[in-house]
């Protein structure tokens, strides 16, 4: 009964989404206030229907209703409750439903927080979101239905992939999707502006908070995924340039560019056409990333043919959404007249350069990810493009980006001089150089470059704030008092840039990580990274739906016990899989990282790592996301802050 209710709610959502796609847009075209006013209610309705459907699926999973095909395939009664809940979005059908739910939430959010928007803009934005939603909910209802029944129901489900039974991965999808789908709002604003034929500073002011929120979520989602692969896969790596990772990186790069170019639209009423294109591009990359890349088409064309109905539906849907948006852009963008003049050397100029570099990195990642596919289709050649290529191709673009990231915020709007900015940065450059030179004596050239870059980024991020409070030029107390007067958006920007520096430091630290693979018996000892690792014991430990083998390792330094860690191996009988359980002990400056391998003749194979600054990679991402959130909290950025009302009296006077 409950699954049928969910099924019905899903069908209802399609109908409401279709109405949401049509009525507000007609209303906005005819200036019909009643039709336009229907937009928020329809968005709320669609969200409620999908929430009901999602709730029904959640219920079926929690009570282990194996008469639902999807639950029988992916769950089992012994699974802990947490994973029964999070398992709902651990499979294809459930994750599409979650995706649709978040998209509906975006529409409802515009309905709820967009009261200050002009009625026509709000109606068009919600209408575009409704049209997008209708396609994807229809996809869920027809070819990816999570509520399909199974008769007779089996006694026990097939069980979830054990790799997913992990808290990190459980919360990775919702946060990642919030980022991916969040970019649908700037996309909808871009289409609304194209339909209306007008983009102004107010538009930039409306779009930026939404883009910023989506960006912060995407940053967090990618970081969570990277952290997960670090501690679960047990390779000691954190980023593999895998197509699926690249697919999440692409919208992040475009979204970062969007967040920056929207500042120029808002503050200087320039770069409007470009920003509209970026908003369309970012969401298009989100769609391609999630739906095309994970479908396996990049790894093998044949994987796509496993389920032709789904594949063709998704291809047509993507072509429709992205094609319509780009066609609308080609048709209407020429009507958006370029305004806002600035010298090449100015804050705007630096932001343009930042956009070029970010988009170039995105282009390289895109080319590298899709190249094997095209080489195979067009030339019949089999080639691989892996980590060595991406590292070599992205680095030359990342370095100038880091340079611009620090100098750009020092420049003034409209027209700037380079010399004063550079003079204010001399001590930052000196510090970075000193660290870089010091590091070259101890490490290879690339890690040294990374450490120098991170010092440059972290210190450079706060130079502008130091200048604003006139530190050391005014009495200290006065300077500190001035800290309160700095707008939150400025803090947000500085903190986000510093976060990038922290991540770069972590990446550089990982480049000098040490590791050792040994086979030792209990009681034996090895040395690595100045630590003494002793294998104390090998033992069995039972679990709820698995059995585990653990190795107890004692790590000492100069006779002092630093850590006791127990890496293990779990085998899940139902799924017939084994997973490694990495043991990690961190003090934020380095991770001690141990993985247990096979055992032979009483000796256990251990892979031991000392990963310097490893936690900084994800800490930096968290700081970046927090910077975005802080910027979002700035009162001046509140959605719908009335720009036109402020301008009106001046004209009247």
């Amino acid at each position: 009964m409950i699954p049928e209710l969910g099924h019905f709610a899903l069908a209802l959502a399609v109908v409401i989404a279709a109405a949401q796609a049509v009525l507000p847009l007609i209303g906005a075209a005819r200036r019909d206030a009643a039709l336009m006013a229907s937009a928020p209610s329809l968005a709320f309705g669609q969200f409620l229907a999908l929430a009901l459907a999602f709730g029904a699926l959640l219920w079926s999973s929690v009570v282990s209703d194996f008469s639902v095909y999807n639950i029988a395939e992916n769950s089992q009664s012994l699974k802990p409750l947490l994973y029964k809940i999070t398992g709902v979005w651990g499979d294809h059908e459930g994750s599409i439903l979650l995706w649709c739910l978040i998209l509906a939430l975006c529409g409802a959010a515009v309905g709820a927080f967009g009261r200050a928007l002009p009625a026509a803009v709000r109606a068009r934005v919600i209408g575009v979101l409704g049209a997008t939603s209708a396609g994807f909910v229809l996809f869920s209802l027809t070819v990816s239905n999570p509520f399909v029944r199974l008769w007779p129901p089996p006694w026990e489900g097939q069980g979830m992939n054990p790799l997913l039974e992990d808290p990190g991965l459980a919360f990775h999808p919702p946060i990642l999707y919030a980022g991916y789908v969040g970019f649908s709002i700037p996309f909808a604003f871009a289409l609304a502006a194209l339909i209306e034929g007008r983009v102004d500073a107010a538009w930039g002011r409306w779009v930026r908070p939404w883009a910023l929120a989506a960006w912060a979520f995407l940053t967090g989602g990618i970081a969570l995924g990277s952290w997960w692969s670090y501690y679960v896969l047990g390779w000691g790596g954190y980023w593999f340039w895998d197509p699926v990772e690249n697919a999440s990186l692409l919208p992040w790069l475009a979204g970062t560019a969007l967040v920056h170019s929207a500042i120029v639209v808002e503050k200087r009423d320039a770069l409007k056409i470009w920003t509209v294109l970026l908003a369309i591009g970012t969401f298009s990359l989100s769609l391609c990333g999630t739906f095309l890349v994970r479908s396996g088409i990049l790894n093998s064309v044949h994987a796509f043919a496993n389920d032709p109905a789904r594949g063709v539906f998704i291809l047509v849907l993507l072509a429709l959404v992205i094609g319509t948006a780009l066609a609308l852009f080609a048709w209407r963008a020429p009507r958006l007249l370029p305004t806002g003049i600035f010298a090449p050397l100015s804050r705007e100029g630096a932001l343009v350069l930042n956009n070029i570099l970010l988009c170039s990195i995105a282009a390289v990642v895109f080319t590298g990810t899709t190249y094997p596919l095209f080489a195979q289709l067009l030339a019949g050649a089999q080639i691989s493009v892996g980590a060595p290529f991406f590292n070599a191709a992205v680095l030359p673009l990342a370095i100038p980006l880091f340079v611009v990231m620090v100098i750009g915020p020092m420049l003034s709007w409209k027209r700037a001089a380079l010399a004063p900015a550079l003079i204010r940065l001399w001590w930052v450059a000196l510090a970075a150089l000193a660290v870089g030179v010091f590091a070259t004596f101890h490490t290879a050239i690339f890690p040294a470059l990374g450490f120098a870059a991170s010092v440059w980024l972290i210190l450079g991020a706060f130079v502008d704030i130091i200048a604003r409070i006139r530190l050391f030029r005014l009495p200290l107390a006065t300077s500190l008092a001035r800290l309160g007067g700095i707008p939150l958006a400025a803090w947000g920007g500085a903190i986000a840039h510093a976060g990038m520096g922290i991540t770069v430091a972590g990446i550089a630290g990982m480049a000098i990580a040490e590791h050792r693979i040994v086979a030792i018996a209990a009681g034996e000892t090895v040395d690595l990274g100045g630590y003494r690792w002793t294998l104390e014991d090998l033992r069995d430990a039972p679990g709820p739906n698995y059995s585990a083998r653990l190795a107890d390792i004692r790590v000492t330094r100069d006779g002092r016990v630093i850590a006791v860690m127990s890496p293990g191996r779990r085998s899940y009988p139902l799924q017939r899989t084994t997973t490694t359980e990495t043991a990690i002990r961190t003090n934020l400056l380095r991770d001690l990282y141990a993985v247990l391998g096979e055992e032979r003749d009483g000796k256990a194979v251990l892979r031991l790592h000392v990963n310097y600054l490893a936690p900084w990679i994800w800490l930096g991402a968290l700081v970046m996301a927090a910077g975005g959130g802080l910027s979002l909290a700035d009162r001046r950025l509140r959605i719908g802050a009335p720009l036109r009302r402020a301008a009106a009296p001046v004209v009247a006077a």
């Binding site: 992916n74 651990g90 294809h92 994750s95 995706w99 992939n161 790799l163 991965l169 999808p173 990642l176 990618i222 995924g225 692969s229 896969l233 047990g234 390779w235 790596g237 593999f240 340039w241 895998d242 699926v244 990772e245 697919a247 999440s248 470009w274 999630t290 739906f291 994970r294 396996g296 790894n299 994987a303 370029p338 305004t339 003049i341 956009n355 070029i356 988009c359 170039s360 282009a363 080319t367 590298g368 190249y371 080489a375 089999q382 080639i383 691989s384 892996g386 191709a393 992205v394 030359p396 673009l397 693979i517 040994v518 086979a519 997973t579 490694t580 391998g597 096979e598 194979v605 006077a653």
Partner: protein, 150 residues
């Protein structure tokens, strides 16, 4: 595993069989030679895996290839010779860093091409004529006159 891959289409993480740990018995005794073998191995693709180097993969083939690389390193061959040997046997597919050849010119040129494209777009945008600012309204004209007079 195929089923898992098809089902889990929405996570931004590589879901490979997480069992990539080498056997120390297959490693070279000399740490320098072993480091060199590992650096070579990172450039070589495990042919039956998705985007994994032979150093990262737990597949049997990767284990064999690791062993072959180490034999060649122990025989004193240079990195280039070993990779060339691998390419002769398995084709360019085995190289995670594709060679620079006509087929991959576009790939290797992509950073430069992207930058050039960006510069061209900016150049066109700068040349585009901007509409002249709107003429002053009568009220603004009066105000300007007042300002100029005083």
């Amino acid at each position: 595993m195929i089923r898992a891959l098809v089902l889990l289409i929405f996570l931004a993480v590589p879901l490979a069989a997480a069992f990539a740990i080498s056997d120390p018995a297959e490693m070279l005794p000399d740490p320098k030679a072993e480091a060199r073998a590992e650096a070579i191995g990172r450039q070589l693709r495990c042919l039956v895996c998705q985007n994994e180097s032979i150093e990262d993969s737990g597949a049997d083939l990767a284990r064999d290839l690791r062993h072959i690389v180490r034999q060649h390193v122990a025989a004193g061959e240079t990195n280039k010779e070993i990779i060339a040997w691998m390419v002769a046997r398995y084709g360019d597919f085995v190289r995670l860093r594709p060679p620079f050849e006509p087929l991959t010119w576009l790939l290797w040129a992509s950073p430069a091409l992207a930058l050039v494209a960006g510069a061209v777009i900016v150049a066109f945008a700068l040349r585009e004529k901007r509409p002249p600012p709107a003429p002053l309204s009568a009220a603004e004209q009066r105000k300007l006159k007042d300002v100029l007079k005083s």
